[in-house]
Amino acid sequence: MRVKLTVQKFNPDIDLKPHPQDYFVETSRGMTLLSALLKIKAETDGTLTFRASCRAAICGSCLMQVNGSQKLACKVAIKEELEHHGKIEVGPMANMPVIKDMVVRMDPFWEKIRAVTPYLLEDGGKPVPTEALKDIHKKLDNADACIMCMACLSACTSYEVSPGFLGPAALAKAYRFQADPRDQGHVDRLEKLQGPNGIWDCVRCNFCVQVCPKDVQPMEQIIRLRRRSIGAGFTDSVEAKHITEFTKVVAAEGRLNEALLPVLMTLGNIRKMIRIIPLGIKMFLHGKTPFPFKRVPGRQEIRAIFKKWEKPK
């Protein structure tokens, strides 16, 4: 089958901006996008530039944007991709500075990984009781499966608008060590992630979960870090209060009272509170603040459920 690949080419030495270029490849059965690109490079255009190494979705080198999504080229089957989208458009992964064609700069990514102290903090080389290592793989919730391909960071909607955000891969890495029974920095690690650009900057858009080729589910690891933070006593922030107050409102009322939640979240934080007041008044004038708040029937049942899962203090 002869297949058209539209590739976004960019050579900063000669091009003002990226431009699409069509290539035609004779594909063989089960051919991957990476094989097609290698074929083009060998037979048609030696200047075509991309990273790749293992060809087996394990080194994480060949990530690029394929028909708008971030994918490993060696994991994309040409036939399926074509059936799904009716075309094959390839370019460098999104939201990263391009060096040439599909090659992007990775230093912003490595800086983030480095920022979470991605290694075990030992306690003076003291041996870890073997008991702690039992089922260690399970305890890490697959956060250790990351191949550093950058798909998640490139697709992250929070990173897109806020480049300082540590992002999904680095935070999943932080969880990987936070959850490791051998690590000695558990609480310190959590504390470092409370501030700006940390775990609370995730908007829970699920893009990272969707695009990760290794099912690391970074967002779920971020949620685990948030849960552990609250458990470890980091409860004063507006962010932590969003969770605890939301839960309390639903426990009391059965459902959420959006008019009340912002007030409860910002209690004790005058700056934030003042910022939400004018909007509150506008919402009230447009009939958007339910008042009086109608309660739902069956609240006893709901309360019983909350009581059942209540953690002993």
């Binding site: 908007v203 858009c205 459902r255 979240m265 447009h286 958007k288 339910p290 459920i305 909350f306 059942k308």
Partner: protein, 298 residues
């Protein structure tokens, strides 16, 4: 087919126009619904951050209540409810040990047990899959042929696809299908499957406002007269916070960057094409005026 309507907190709270417009449209179409009166919050992905078992039990209660009513289909009208309640349903249906554990807690607290027989479907899916676009087209008395509509899907109706799976997360088509059915022209833009920032609106407002500003200005530049969303939380972000997003955009990119983009709930878009008045559909309750859109229609 009978549906148990799960109204969600938002349609009962800050976006009451979603509830009224849904009732109007669903009533006109003759879709058989019974409201889950004693519903509880789905948790919006927040309660699970506190305690996943608690969140699952709450959703199991909703599903078990529908099951006890003898109803196999729950209708949601909120993209986030769909993602959260639908996702919980998937876990309860597929993970038997987990279901048993949750059922023990549910039985102890409410006497209910969930067998896993219910399907959770957003109105958007019901219209396409169960009701049918051809049948829907018959109700379009006032085709919106002069307007261009930009679809905003929101996160949870698309992702993670293993929990939703109705539409193609990479290239969804369902909203555009509905836009065409009411006679309007869909326009496409980068942000249509991205995030509106709602979960961090209060705590990280600068991130959320950037998202609102980016999505809305893209929709505008693509020629949209209005945006339509199946999620009331997206509506809150894009409508209530649009003015502040515009301020931010103007500070960063210059005063010529204006927004003023009307945001419609999905049933409002359908309702307009069925001849309901903007007032009946609650459009006065929006913070961004829908007047320019209405003028174009009339």
């Amino acid at each position: 087919m009978k549906y148990a309507l799960f109204p969600g907190c938002a349609s009962k709270g800050a976006t009451p126009e979603l509830y009224t417009s849904t009732m109007k449209v669903v009533g006109r179409l003759g879709i058989d619904i019974v409201e889950l009166e004693a519903f509880n919050c789905c948790g919006a992905g927040v309660i699970t951050e506190a305690d996943p078992d608690l969140a699952l039990t709450l959703n199991a209660r909703t599903l078990a209540t529908a099951e006890r009513m003898g109803i196999q289909n729950v209708m949601t009208i909120c993209g986030t409810c769909q993602g959260v309640l639908g996702g919980a349903n998937k876990i309860l249906q597929e993970d038997e040990p987990r279901r048993e554990r949750i059922n023990r807690a549910l039985k102890e607290t409410t006497g209910l047990e969930y067998q896993g027989t219910v399907e959770v479907k957003h109105l958007q899916w019901i219209l396409i899959k169960d009701f049918g676009l051809d049948a829907l087209a018959k109700f379009v008395t006032h085709p919106l042929s002069d307007v261009s509509i930009a679809a905003f899907y929101g996160c949870y109706i698309l992702r993670p696809s293993r929990a939703t799976g109705f539409d193609d997360w990479e290239n969804p088509t369902s909203l555009e299908k509905l836009i065409r059915t009411v006679g309007a022209h869909p326009v496409y833009y980068d942000g249509r499957t991205k995030c509106c920032g709602f979960p961090v609106l209060l705590e990280k407002d600068q991130i959320a406002l950037s998202m609102v500003g980016k999505n809305v200005s893209e929709a505008k530049e693509s020629g949209g007269d209005a945006m339509v969303t199946p999620c009331p939380l997206c509506h809150m972000s894009l409508d209530i916070y649009q003015e502040r997003a515009e301020d931010k955009l103007q500070r960063e990119q210059g005063p010529e960057k204006t927004l003023g983009m009307p945001i419609l709930h999905l049933p409002q878009l359908l309702g307009l094409a069925m001849g309901f008045s903007p007032k009946e559909l609650g459009m006065k309750r929006h913070l961004v005026s829908t007047a320019p859109l209405i003028e174009k229609i009339q």
